[in-house]
Symmetry: C2
Subunit: 351 residues, 2 copies
């Protein structure tokens, strides 16, 4: 026997599990002495097959540890019971999935989806090709798609949403857009943060985040709104990555550079706020004594830091639930509308 063939055989026998493994419905059918169709119905507990036969088949299936191939079933039924959860990292080549906000929402999504019998296909996409979203949506593997964040891919999302309905996006809602979003009113959130800082007598404000993703941009604009209302100068806009290995360093550099120019920082996320507080502490700048800092998200973490973060709360659990609900409606054929939740200010120790 050729070596290659022998290897192949070895692999195959190694993989073939419990001795005499039943590999498909046809084999089980032969064993029981009925047709494949009957076995299929029996395993589905259909009343179309005799109670006795049904039990015999089920017992034998259990005994041999047989489970029908899901791939085949899903192909036939044209329903995969899989939802894609996708994080587009358009402008964040270096970002990992480690952003705690993403993780928090993913946790809640996982809860809601598994509870409804759906599996989750996770994709971390760096949109290199034009048609990255089309490829995902069109793979035939998914019953629906949840997008976490719009990144800089607004156009691509709109294009696909025009014909692909079962998709819900976490992010900002722009008037007239066709894709369904769930998110908080980011502009209002930014304004709340601004008003909080201003309320503490802060006058030289800065926003720390980035200006590419619509959500973050809105937060900055909200901060500007607040500044304008109070007759303050336009807040600085300091770009950082959202969750990468170099973010701590970037933030430290920003702090070094702006020094005493700024006495109020509205961070684009809790994580950024944490790093900023850390960097300020390292430089002996008191928070909130000399500089006030606000976060955004209100992650569980925000309450556990020292000092505890003052932040803008997005109700993540509620948001995740809203996404899943909207998605299921859309899978069912209803055109569920976007949801915009109201952010609230959580006043703690940093501002």
């Amino acid at each position: 026997m050729a070596a290659a063939q022998k290897d192949l055989l070895k692999i195959m026998t190694e993989r073939a599990a419990p001795p005499g493994r039943i590999r498909n419905i046809a084999e089980l059918a032969k064993l029981v002495g009925v047709s494949a169709g009957t076995v299929s119905r029996a395993l589905a507990n259909s009343s179309l097959v005799n109670q006795e036969t049904r039990e015999r088949i089920q017992t034998l299936a259990r005994k041999h540890g047989f489970r029908p191939n899901q791939m085949a079933k899903r192909l036939r039924v044209q329903e995969t019971k899989v939802i894609g959860v996708v994080v587009p990292l358009g402008h964040e080549q270096r970002q990992h999935l480690s952003d705690p906000f993403f993780m928090a929402i993913l946790g809640h999504l996982a809860d809601a989806l598994t509870e409804s019998g759906y599996d989750i296909m996770l994709s971390r996409v760096i949109p290199d090709a034009e048609d990255w979203l089309e490829r995902i949506v069109d793979s035939g593997m998914l019953d629906g798609v949840l997008l976490i964040g719009q990144s800089n891919q607004f156009e691509a999302i709109e294009r696909v949403a025009a014909w692909y309905k079962p998709m819900v996006v976490w992010g900002s809602h722009r008037p007239g857009q066709v894709h369904c979003t769930v998110g908080v009113d980011n502009r209002l959130g930014g304004r709340l943060a601004g008003e909080c800082l201003i309320g503490q007598g802060r006058k030289r404000l800065a926003f720390m985040g980035e200006n590419v993703a619509p959500e973050l941009l809105e937060r900055y604009l909200g901060l500007c709104d607040a500044a304008k209302t109070s007759g303050l100068a336009v807040p600085l806009q300091l770009n950082t990555h959202l969750a990468s290995d170099i973010m701590a360093e970037e933030i430290a550099r920003h702090i070094d550079r702006i020094g005493a120019e700024v006495d109020g920082i509205a961070a684009g996320s809790d994580l950024i706020a944490m790093h900023a507080v850390r960097a300020l502490a390292d430089r002996g700048i008191a928070v909130p004594g000399q500089v006030s800092v606000t976060g955004f998200d209100d992650l569980p973490l925000a309450e556990q830091t020292i000092p505890r973060l003052t932040t803008i709360s997005q109700n993540i659990a509620e948001g995740a639930q809203a996404m899943v609900t909207a998605l299921f409606e859309r899978i069912g054929g209803t055109a569920a509308p976007s949801v915009e939740m109201a952010p609230t200010l959580i006043r703690r120790d940093t501002a």
Copy 2:
């Protein structure tokens, strides 16, 4: 037309994308005027089909936005290019996926897997049925499985590992086990934490975590080793959930209860350590002045807290890479062995 029918039609037309959408290879084949087989080969860029024909088919496919159904393809080629990443929550009914350690490792796994062209199927499993793992492994949807943590499911994992090779588990390695694990030497890690605390003159030690998952148990035993070597009393063992909404409260209760009895806390994870430090601060107990605290994991976060966490480092990036490498070897038919990495003490501010 009946209302129901009308609704159905409405849904169908709504879903049917760009007008005149091509839905499968057969339709495209008819359009081009060749057979389905040829189209399949052309899209795979096979040299078996004429260059000219190939280009014609590819152009038309692009024009109509046609992408072959992956479900069908995978059924046929018996290779799914999907890896299951599973978190068994045997003893943690309330735990979410929000454990930052899990998230960190998931991020690295996602990087490594997507880079190799694999998708990730995420399962958060509460092992209710006996055969939860068999069900996953046997679904026919996965080329391999990565398990994050052993929870209290050691038996179930061993049982499956006996016949299902392409599986790698993050966790502890017990002598003689058949399943392949990647992880740090948790016992050594526990000992390092203990030695660190003892080195600071701490004498009344406690472990904060739980005693069900082997990893955590090992860490506690390591701490006991260190205590014994130095002739100290057996450290307390304080149970908490690992990452749930009630964990902060539990930890606070522990702190209240043990009060001055304890002057050194080895936490089972960085998250627990953070909460402990927070609870101590709330009660005016100085860290590390009165009580020293060590974490475990060395999450990126640990460096950003105030005070920064002294902790036992598991190299998560390296670990994730090792898991993926071992898994690919096993998918290829090689029996990759377990990997045990050495933990290191990262001395920062809390001990």
